[in-house]
Amino acid sequence: MSGVRVLVGTRKGAFVLESDGARRDWKVGGPYFPGWEIYHVKGSPADPNRLYASQSSSWFGQLIQRSDDGGATWTPVGNEFSYAHQPGTHQWYDGTPHPWEFARVWHLEPSLADPDTVFAGVEDAALFRSSDGGATWTELASLREHHTGSAWQPGAGGLCLHTILLDPADARRIFVAISAAGAFRSDDAGATWKPINRGLRSEGIPDPDAEIGHCVHRLAQHRAQPNRLFMQKHWDVMRSDDAGDTWREVSGNLPTDFGFVIDVHAHEPETIYVVPIKSDAEHFPLDGSLRVYRSRTGGEQWEALTTGLPQRDCYVNVLRDAMAVDSLDACGIYFGTTGGQVYVSADAGETWNPIVRDLPAVLSVEVQTFL
């Protein structure tokens, strides 16, 4: 029987939401790791029972948890994220040099082929890899040591590497995004990196050819079209058809093009979803009306999806890792809010229902599909 397992990271623990393919009746598990910030939980595509979770707190630092039974039980694994070589400095908010310091793991991306291999995107921005199920972690240092690294500056949320895309068509190709350095691509399994920010425009960066400095909030990719990337930037929704070499804006008729999440329909590579947020100063929906916007044309033309979502007095945010899609025939779309709601649409966005309404602030949402 088909079904889904939704993995939710929140400010105060993790939750596992399960349903059959109808996605109407839900079993809510958790909180796991209560009281801890769970930035991200994700399952291995190669073994759906293998899950990884990033658990952290300001008091006791970073832990990585691993489950080998689909989240029923968890074991803490390695938590040492040591920068390779002499870390050096990046730029601080005021432009002065600041030592590179590990703060937390924002995102865990399991390998597409090997359950024991998993990548971690961390703050201060760096990419780590484990090949032993999370027991030990090694930095792919050439990213942070890129010649632009000393000029990277943090966004308001910190200098975080928050997006990792593993190319399904080319095992050596990796995309990452860093706030506020921009997007980068490796074509040699992380040995070397190239900034891929040509075409991005940001207020305060007058140089149209600036290699870095753009506050990329999220990248998304469809498995069938891996060279086509979509980006929610600080402001602007962007699209690339050449693996990030060039970008063009596709914000089109969006009521505001600020936001954090972006994702792609599981079966329609040109159908994409965003949740517009009023502005960088007002992190909530326009007019108190929570609307998902869908484009079936890969951008430019957008339609508001509102059925089942609160259309008044709603002032939540949807953070960058808090949207996901399942791969059932009728594609399911999921997102979580800082108000603790997790919404599901079992019909590609036409109608929405809350799975839960009162969790702690949601930091991340991932979905596993069982066909």
């Binding site: 209560p34 009281g35 707190s57 008091w59 006791f60 630092g61 832990l63 938590n79 040492e80 994220f81």
Partner: protein, 97 residues
């Protein structure tokens, strides 16, 4: 025998008892924490930074009614802690919501 009391969030992570007893040859804070981390590797990085071995900013050490957080790591622990009469208490600083 030194007695150690850990805060609830860390006991939950490791499935640890409410009070831990450790044999430490030289009763200093560093030796005690080394022994604690050796017995329970899950605690590595949670009390002290991995690289620097410095106490994490929001972790505090108390014993015998005193805040030992700023004591040198190689200073001897109070005699009452060293002999097990009083516990060495780790707490998370009051902060946040």
């Amino acid at each position: 025998m030194i007695r150690v009391v850990l805060p609830a969030p860390l006991r939950a992570v490791g499935g640890l008892p409410s009070e831990i007893t450790l044999e430490v040859r030289e009763p200093t804070q560093a030796a005690l924490l080394d022994a604690l981390e050796a017995r329970y590797p899950v605690l590595r990085g949670t009390l002290r930074e991995h690289a620097t071995r410095r106490r994490r900013a929001y972790v505090r050490f108390f014993a015998c009614g005193r805040d030992l957080s700023h004591e040198p790591s190689d200073a001897l622990l109070p005699a009452a802690v060293a002999c097990g009469a009083e516990p060495f208490v780790v707490i998370g600083a009051m902060s946040g919501g």
